[in-house]
């Protein structure tokens, strides 16, 4: 069991709650979501409490994260997109902190479960659809009809565009989930090699240096992936929001 690379993704009930036959238990996944939100909120409240004109270390980190998300959103969706800043910033911080939390040994990775990432992606895409219809009315549907297409092809192209649109939340969630899952399994498998190789005496211990080096290297890579995936999630969110704001072709 110690060598089982999937074991780390198991969900355990910490506090069984049952409401009308539906399982609302507080699990280790919920615990780490709460921890993620608490850590993010605590970090931002603490770091902005000083409000110095010349930012200190903590304040400059939170200002950097603000600037980073704000410039991403502005470049993708324009100034009008800034009304979605709270949503985009929360998503970015949640995904980033959840990814980084997962890199601690014995911590549970919230974003390695597709249901969590899919829920986030659904939140994004339903915001796009609802806001798109609220703002543009029926003309939001023009998103699915590319301009300059011969009349005969319009039904086919529209159908393809609709499928392409519907595939967005799936690709968004699958990408984040698959990256985290694959990274953690790889890490665990290589770390497991170290243990099982070193069981073969002196030769094994010497041989175990190789997977050990790999484990260190992959850990570094995972830090990069954790940040990159949070960024990709944010950028794509911004681009989809841009479609809701400017659906014209």
């Amino acid at each position: 069991m110690a060598n089982d690379p999937i074991h780390q993704f198991q969900i355990n009930q910490l506090l069984p709650i049952d409401v009308g036959g539906v399982d609302f238990s507080f699990t280790n996944s919920s615990l780490f979501m709460v921890l993620t939100v608490a850590a993010t909120a605590a970090f931002l409240i603490f770091s902005t409490s000083g409000r110095g004109l010349v930012p200190g270390r903590w304040q400059s980190v939170s200002e950097m994260s603000y600037e980073f998300v704000a410039s991403t959103l502005r470049s993708a969706a324009g100034t009008e997109g800034m009304r979605f800043f709270p949503l985009v910033f929360s998503l970015f911080m949640f995904v980033l902190v959840a990814n980084l939390f997962g890199l601690f040994p014995y911590f549970f990775t919230v974003t390695s479960h597709i249901i969590v990432t899919f829920a986030l992606a659904l939140l994004v895409i339903s915001t796009v659809i609802i806001y798109g219809f609220m703002r543009n009315g029926v003309s939001f549907l023009k998103l699915f009809i590319p301009s300059g297409v011969p009349g005969l092809l319009i039904p086919l192209v529209t159908l393809i565009e609709i499928i392409s649109f519907l595939s967005r939340p799936i690709s968004l969630s699958v990408r984040l989930f698959a990256n985290m899952l694959a990274g953690h399994i790889t890490l665990k498998v290589f770390a497991g090699f170290v243990v099982s190789l070193s069981a073969y005496g002196a030769v094994g211990v010497v041989g175990a240096v190789l997977p050990m080096v790999m484990t260190v290297a992959i850990t570094a890579l995972e830090f990069l992936v954790a940040f990159l995936q949070a960024y990709v999630f944010t950028v794509l969110t911004c681009m989809y929001l841009n479609d809701a704001i400017h659906p014209s072709h």
């Binding site: 470049s75 993708a76 998103l143 699915f144 590319p146 301009s147 300059g148 159908l159 393809i160 565009e161 499928i163 392409s164 649109f165 519907l166 595939s167 967005r168 799936i170 690709s171 699958v174 990408r175 698959a178 990256n179 890579l221 990069l224 992936v225 990159l228 960024y231 990709v232 950028v235 794509l236 681009m239 841009n242 479609d243 400017h246 659906p247 072709h249």
Partner: protein
């Protein structure tokens, strides 16, 4: 527009020292590069190194393609379930899903214009 302003600048620059002309040309090159850069898709990730950049790109493109097929197949399956047209809905929508997957991939790599943005004439030329 470039030729008109460029020739005027060059004429003025010839009288100045060769350094001035060089900086003039560098400026022009910078402006041209900026204009061309604006045409490229904004979706690029910060490629920190080639290996990890390739990994991220592979994950991105494969997930785009797979998502298209999954959605197409899912719609076809539900379509069949509701209208009892087994197996034609699945066949047709799976094919459309493949098409949508390819479209997603082409969009992700910037060879087809994003639905929100106007189509660029030179978007399809880049290899």
């Amino acid at each position: 527009m470039n030729s008109a302003s460029g020739s005027g600048n060059n004429g003025a620059g010839k009288k100045a020292s060769p350094d001035g002309e060089l900086s003039e040309r560098l400026d022009k090159l910078g402006r041209n590069l900026e204009e061309q850069g604006r045409g490229s898709p904004k979706q690029h990730q910060p490629s920190s190194s080639s290996a990890t950049g390739g990994y991220a790109q592979a994950m991105k493109i494969s997930s785009e393609f797979i998502a298209g097929i999954i959605v197409g197949g899912g719609i076809g399956w539900v379509f069949d379930l509701w209208l009892a047209t087994k197996p034609f809905g699945l066949i047709v929508f799976l094919l459309l899903g493949f098409v949508a997957g390819i479209l997603n991939v082409l969009r992700a790599t910037g060879r087809v214009a994003e639905p929100g943005q106007p189509k660029k004439p030179d978007a399809g030329n880049e290899k």
